[in-house]
Symmetry: C2
Subunit: 148 residues, 2 copies
């Protein structure tokens, strides 16, 4: 049973602070955008939204911050099957990994948490003697509404 992922505002900020990483204005703006996003955002969307908080935020700061968060394992980077161009999408890493299912017809993204996925990762770590840091399962196809 996946625990409900209750979200503490400023959690990302806290996690960075715990690791002794400096907090700045632009960084705060970007983090808040990522935290409050209710959909997957790409770098440009993050930039645009961050600028509504702090108009001076630069595109390169967005990329640098995304890099930082990736290295810290606090966000995941997704392709979403390149439904819109070749860019990447970002989302908070919360508890259990989930699978992304992208409908190639209507573009809807569904998410799915699966015990089998968790077992698969364990099996992989055991059988391949591989220490997993990130796991990304993306699926493309037709959703229930589009498959008919």
């Amino acid at each position: 049973m996946p625990l409900p992922q209750t979200e503490i505002p400023g959690r990302l900020q806290m996690q960075l602070a715990e690791r002794g990483i400096r907090m700045t204005g632009p960084r705060r703006a970007i983090l808040s955008v990522i935290e409050t996003a209710n959909q997957h955002l790409d770098a440009s969307q993050i930039l645009r939204k961050a600028r509504t908080v702090d108009a001076s935020v630069d595109r390169s700061t967005v990329y640098r911050t995304l890099d930082l968060l990736k290295r810290q394992g606090l966000i995941d980077e997704l392709d979403l099957m390149h439904l819109n161009g070749e860019g990447h999408y970002y989302e908070r890493k919360l508890g259990r990994d989930h699978i992304h299912m992208a409908c190639l017809r209507c573009g809807k993204i569904a998410e799915f948490v699966s015990k089998t996925f968790e077992s698969l990762k364990k099996q992989l770590e055991r059988d391949c003697r591989f220490h997993i840091l990130v796991a990304r399962l993306e699926v493309g196809g037709y959703c229930s509404a589009c498959r008919r």
Copy 2:
């Protein structure tokens, strides 16, 4: 038990012919590169190798051909956890999907075929009423040699 994937030379060419898709010089060169590759190649590498067969091959033809093969479901597109930049890697789609494990320290890519992965996909199709066309599981972490 996965069947041994015996490779017939010119198989890709044949598969395109079966579908009534035109064969041309540049296309033949690109297909042969993909077929004989013993590692994952990105668009630039494919271009370079294709040019050793047919020097006039253009970069855009490589992209157009990769697009064609993707649409036909004959190749898979991978990120390999962006070990080297943001480009994509391509590989023949042969029989069973496999998992790619990228070592974030040494860069080695290992592949793994798993029954559990197959069950997971079936479960997904059933539980989410989703018709899967492509499934991509990529894992990043430390391989057995690097984890110590």
